[in-house]
Amino acid sequence: MSLDMFIQQFFNAITLGSLYGLIAIGYTMVYGILRLINFAHGDILMLGAYFVFFGTTTFCLPWGLAVVVAILAASATGILIDRIAYRPLREAPRISALISAIAVSFFIESLSVVLFTGLPRPVYQPEWLTTAFQIGSIRLLPLTLLVPAISFVLVMLLLWMVYHTKPGLAMRAISKDIETTRLLGVRVDRIIALTFGIGSALAAASGIMWALRYPQINPYMGIFPGFKAFIAAVLGGIGSIQGAMLGGLILGMLEIMAVAFLPSLSGFRDAFAFIVLLLVLFYKPTGIFGEHTEEKI
């Protein structure tokens, strides 16, 4: 493999990896606080992309505004899901909430097929994001650089919020001990709703970027990115924000480089991701940044 090609593949990997990372953060935040794997996360991603689609087509909003509206709407959907499907099960065994999450995921997908039809739809891409420019023999889209940049900024903002604000402090407290936190006068349900809101906003943001990068949306588009991001979250240490981002980048790198170095095995690309998940679960179940706890998933 030539150096040029390697660099091209490297950028392909960074873009894919940072998208995985961004989606993984949503999983990790909710898991960190509630020990709940929010399977509906990938579907929120899909909704975010659809909200932009309808914002720009049906409601004729300018693209920028449609993005903001879509992120807010997705965020509200996340809070609503928590209110309807998870909050009533807060005291129930954890498995109940997990099953509820799977149900929510199926529900959103089926509802979307009915509402939006199963047909894939084209996505509007602003010209300036997708006009390729050339450095030597490497072709880059502004989008290729923008996706990791935005992801990086969002992670920084999130880390600041979790470690330097009151709600962030409350989130960390809840993740340690929900009952004690409640006794200390923290409005636990509000903080959890906030967590879902932020997680869903991030899912929508990544869904929108995903749709820009892979400009075709359909009601099932969130499933695979969701799986991959979940692997990324486990790899990085579920519950850790930096870990999720790093896990995403490693996974993106692995997937792309597996194809780059072993083209004949390209059909097993997805298998690589799942093998990584298995290896992590076997040898370091807490992931790269994960804290050791006695509780099991």
């Binding site: 090609m5 593949q9 392909n12 199963g118 894939p120 892979y214 075709q216 997937e255 780059a260 390209s266």
Partner: protein, 379 residues
């Protein structure tokens, strides 16, 4: 459309209630239709249903009896497809069945029809296995080996491409089959396969595979994908600066291809059934179909799926007429004996393996438009 389907289902269930009564000579002849009207193949299924409906509208009677269509949605799902055929054969007691789009659905349904000894006419199910070893399965389309060979022949002989790459969806029987036959024929003609890259249905990132393909500098990349993936593959290929020609099969024959890929579709070559609005010269049957379609469904352009549905109905009516009686055995024999039937997709004969024989059409995409550039026949 959804309301219509629902009404159809309600109507069909009422009909099913009436089934307990003994059949009388004046009863309409029932023809079952099972197609994906929801789910991922809904687009093709809906167009094929409209084609069937149009043909039914033009020829509503056979042997002096009314023909009644019993439509069931197979939801793009194998289990549902089998259930749909079971329903049509057991509850609705249909004489013959039209359907379906998608080979895996047709195989699921075909097994049930075979057991019920009811003839079934596939619309756009191109995998050889659909009719293999089945006495009651037929189809109005050509099969994958034929299309793959035609694509290779066109690329090599007509375009002079010597080096080909492959990009294959390994989770899709259609893509695996088509690319295997393309590969074999292309090599036999003297061409070279320089790269063979794979992906899985539902993947959305193809940058790694495409970067690898670009480095091998093929003249043409054969990519027998479904349109949703095919369109974003084309987009990513052009973004990465790929200059090779991309070639696909009939599963790309969908207006969405152009809608999603936009400018990236420029230069795309696609093999398909020999019908397109841009055909320089249409047969009288194709012209009649086009004209009737424009009155029937003025908001939608007729495409090959519509023509296949239309043909499937006409083929059955032709067979019933020749059989002279509404008897499944006689109709099955008449279907197998179909020779030189003029249709919207050229002159159609059913061969020994129950597949339709017809030329393969080639379409080129240029400046946001499709142009029918020729036909290939492979021996």
């Amino acid at each position: 459309m959804k309301c219509k389907t629902l009404l159809g289902l309600v109507a069909a269930s009422f009909l099913a209630l009436g089934l307990a009564l003994p059949a009388q000579a004046e009863d309409p002849i029932k023809i079952g239709v099972y197609l994906p009207l929801t789910g991922q193949n809904a687009f093709g299924g809906k167009l094929e249903l409209d084609g069937v409906r149009l043909a039914h509208k033009l020829k509503p009677t056979v042997l002096g009896r009314d023909v009644e269509l019993v439509v069931v949605d197979n939801k793009s799902d194998k289990v549902e497809a089998a259930n749909a055929v079971k329903r049509l054969t057991e509850r609705d007691n249909v004489l013959a069945i039209i359907g379906t789009y998608g080979s895996s659905l047709a195989m699921a349904g075909g097994d049930v029809a075979e057991r019920a000894k009811t003839p079934m006419i596939g619309t756009s199910c191109t995998n050889p296995l659909v009719t293999q070893g089945k006495a009651y399965s037929f189809r109005v389309c050509f099969i994958d080996p034929y299309q793959g060979a035609a694509a290779a022949s066109y690329a090599f002989n007509e375009r002079g491409y010597k080096k080909a790459g492959l990009l294959i969806d390994v989770a899709n029987d259609y893509a695996v089959g088509l690319s295997a036959f393309f590969k074999r024929s292309f090599k036999k003609l003297g061409g070279e396969i320089v790269a063979e890259l794979k992906y899985n249905s539902g993947d959305q990132d193809f940058t790694a595979q495409l970067t690898e393909l670009i480095s091998k500098k093929p003249d043409v990349v054969f990519m027998p994908a479904y349109f949703a993936e095919g369109a974003i593959i084309m987009k990513q290929a052009r973004e990465l600066g790929a200059t090779f020609v991309i070639m696909g099969g009939d599963a790309m024959d969908n207006p969405k291809t152009l809608e999603i890929a936009g400018k990236a579709a420029d230069g795309f070559l696609q093999t398909t059934f020999p019908y397109d609005l841009s055909m320089p010269k249409m047969s009288p049957e194709a012209e009649a179909f086009t004209k009737a379609w424009k009155e029937f469904s003025p908001n939608e352009a007729p495409n090959v799926n519509a023509a296949l549905g239309y043909n499937a109905y006409n083929l059955i009516i032709d067979a019933i007429t020749r059989a002279g009686k509404a008897d499944t055995h006689a109709v099955t024999e008449a279907l197998a004996a179909t020779k030189n039937l003029p249709t919207a997709l050229g002159v159609l004969s059913i061969n020994a393996t129950h597949d339709a024989e017809m030329p393969v059409g080639v379409i080129e995409y240029r400046d946001g438009k499709r142009t029918y550039v020729g036909e290939v026949t492979v021996k």
